[in-house]
């Protein structure tokens, strides 16, 4: 039993030693000596001979002057798979890069997976507003070489979404590179020769017709290069393999300088762009900023109505709006914030005017009463006087009672007058009798 326990302990010790992390064996480094071993890929040689033969080779070629062409795809993107397959055979795409053979490739090629957590830091960096943003797939990006020979290596010379047309891609990429080189040449004071610049643009071989190369515009010459505008990242995540939806997009003037006439004109044009028959397209209104990003609408073009299919503008029409147009229908006054504000001010002015005339009227009344032309207003006596008085009879009763009192008073006065008159006559009669009799 003890022997078994001992053996088990011994085995456990041996296994524990085997599981311990091995330290780096740098002794082999010394034993190998000067050696360059190429591992992976198509190893044509095996064994020690191969190692030593490669050790005698020189360094690989200096490829720091190569441009960068890279594709950003994502998981579940059919168009990305289509592009990857096309890149294996299509002569136009392979003129830019040979993914399986980097040494013969015109540009350094990478295929980045947008959903790869190890590469996610490259895109949409929230800390850096100038960082490259990728929002559509597959996106193809072209950047200058790391050597700095063609300007800042961080510059995005071309960024665009591949839509399945290599020829179109070639035109866009070549146009962007040429435009970039022209700008670079202007900044560097014409130090780049046209021959050198043309060498920077890949040539399409294998029987494909080359694009007509325009002359290099030097400083002081016509500064009107025909070049593609810088491609801004597109907003929606759209898979080009999915059929795009056709719709009508209205872009209104944000300043509303045309007033009520704009809506009418836009509605007319939108109706004209609708297809004939029963089919009706969805009508959508977007702001100018979004329209500029999605469809390249210039702010000077608004108001404008577009018939689009996905992100492609099929038709663009500007409604004819007359800025000097008279007032439209009354209901159209309600369109636009400017009209509403005007109406509000008008109502406010009316109220203020009304209040003013009411005040004037009251002032005149007060003045007339003050002067005495008008009787004072009833009930203007102080309240306590009213409270201390006996309750007044009703107005009708007051007038009847006073008339009755007046009649009684008048009758009393008449009776007194008659009595006094009678007494006066009696007194006069007594005074008219003989005086002797009076003496006697």
């Amino acid at each position: 039993m003890k022997a078994l326990a001992f053996i088990a302990l011994l085995l456990a010790t041996v296994l524990a030693q085997a599981a311990e992390p091995k330290p780096n064996d740098f002794g082999e480094v010394v034993r190998r000596g000067d050696l360059v071993q190429h591992v992976g890929g198509e190893d044509k040689m095996e064994g020690v001979d191969a190692l030593y033969s490669q050790a005698m080779d020189g360094l690989p070629t200096d490829d720091k002057d190569k441009w960068f062409v890279y594709v950003v795809g994502t998981k579940g993107c059919a168009a990305c798979v289509q592009l990857t397959d096309a890149w294996k055979t299509d002569p136009i795409l392979r003129a830019y890069a040979k993914p399986e053979n980097p040494k013969e490739s015109w540009a350094h090629f990478h295929y980045y997976r947008h959903d790869d957590p190890k590469q996610a830091w490259r895109w949409n960096d929230p800390k850096n507003p100038n960082a490259i943003k990728i929002t559509a797939f597959p996106t193809i990006v072209v950047q200058p070489p790391l050597s700095g020979k063609w300007g800042n290596p961080s510059s995005i010379v071309y960024q665009g979404v591949y839509e399945g047309d290599p020829k179109r891609l070639q035109q866009q990429v070549n146009g962007s590179i040429r435009f970039y080189l022209e700008r670079l040449n202007q900044r560097q004071g014409g130090q780049i020769s046209s021959v050198t610049a043309e060498a920077a643009v890949p040539l399409v071989e294998n029987g494909f017709q080359q694009q007509q190369v325009p002359p290099m515009i030097l400083p002081g010459e016509d500064p009107n290069p025909v070049s593609p505008p810088p491609r801004e990242p597109r907003l929606p995540l759209r898979d080009p393999s999915i059929e795009a939806r056709e719709e009508i997009v209205i872009v209104k003037d944000p300043e509303q300088v045309y007033g009520s006439g704009e809506s009418e004109a836009i509605a007319t044009v939108a109706e004209e762009l609708q297809p004939t028959g029963l089919r009706r397209l969805r009508v959508r209104e977007i702001d100018i900023e979004k329209a500029a990003k999605l469809y390249g609408v210039d702010p000077s073009e608004v108001p404008v109505v577009l018939r689009v299919e996905g992100q492609d503008v099929r038709e663009k029409r500007a409604p004819k709006v007359d800025p000097n147009k008279e007032w439209g229908p009354l209901l159209s006054l309600w369109f636009g914030i400017g009209s509403l504000i005007s109406i509000a001010f008008w109502c406010l002015g009316l109220v203020i005017l009304l209040l003013f005339w009411v005040c004037v009227f009251l002032f005149i009344i007060w003045l007339l009463r003050k002067v005495g032309i008008l009787a004072p207003k009833a009930g203007t006596q102080p309240a306590q006087v009213v409270v201390n008085q006996a309750p007044a009879p009703a107005p009708a009763q007051t007038s009847a009672a006073s008339e009755y009192d007046a009649m009684i008073l008048q009758r009393k006065k008449q009776l007194e007058y008659e009595e006094l008159t009678a007494r006066l006559q009696a007194a006069r009669a007594a005074n008219s009798a003989p005086a002797a009799s009076v003496v006697a």
């Binding site: 064996d25 050696l35 992976g40 720091k64 980097p102 350094h108 190890k118 490259i132 961080s154 510059s155």
Partner: protein, 200 residues
């Protein structure tokens, strides 16, 4: 005698500290071969995977050069099981062959030329640096005028910041481990893309 020894030790420490210092170059400088932000470099921290400094260094290069089979060397992935612990040139060759990673596995006095070539062409490389240790060579800045050449190294044992080494200090660093470097045979990564308004 003891005082002299202490003084000498202090001088050496000061000299090394001067020779090796944090590099002021930002991570996205196109002069650098390894153009990775620090939070990404920290994913290859050797203390998380003890004794795997060679794989940490190669993995960092894989992330930079967009070689997933190398970038996921320390993780279970579709490219194979994770590879931990110490390595030598033969082991590196074996697992690179198994995972179909193309590398230049260089030993001996040629490493200096290869390291310069790699940095010059924008490729980072995993190099022996320090006693029995591997680090990532992030760049070589050639001499300019009066300014001497210097090397930029990222240590997977430390804070993963770029360390600036003078020519002599870097020589000591590389020789301390033995002359061995591993370079991925893939195109270099482009400079981090920036929306520079070059058309204006």
């Amino acid at each position: 005698m003891l005082r002299c020894a202490l003084l000498l030790f202090g001088l050496i420490v000061c000299h090394e500290a001067h020779a090796q210092q944090a590099s002021p170059i930002p991570w996205d400088d196109p002069q650098l071969a390894l153009k990775l932000p620090q939070e990404m470099r920290q994913k290859y921290y050797n203390f998380t995977n003890p004794g795997s400094c060679v794989q940490c260094s190669i993995g960092m290069c894989g992330m930079d050069q967009n070689v997933p089979a190398a970038a996921y060397l320390l993780e279970q992935s579709e490219y194979g099981a994770p590879v931990f612990h110490g390595s030598n040139p033969s082991r590196v060759a074996k697992y690179c062959k198994d995972r179909n990673i193309r590398v230049y596995n260089v030993t001996g006095s040629k490493t200096w030329d290869w390291m310069r070539w790699a940095c010059n062409t924008g490729r980072a490389c995993a190099i022996g640096a320090g006693g029995s240790h591997f680090q990532t060579l992030a760049g070589y800045i050639p001499p300019k005028g009066d300014e001497p050449a210097h090397w930029i190294v990222c240590n997977n044992n430390g804070d993963q910041k770029y360390q600036d080494y003078s020519e002599a200090a870097f020589r000591r660093l590389h020789l301390a481990s033995g002359q061995w470097c591993v370079i991925l045979d893939y195109p270099p990564s482009p400079a981090p893309g920036r929306l520079v308004e070059w058309w204006k």
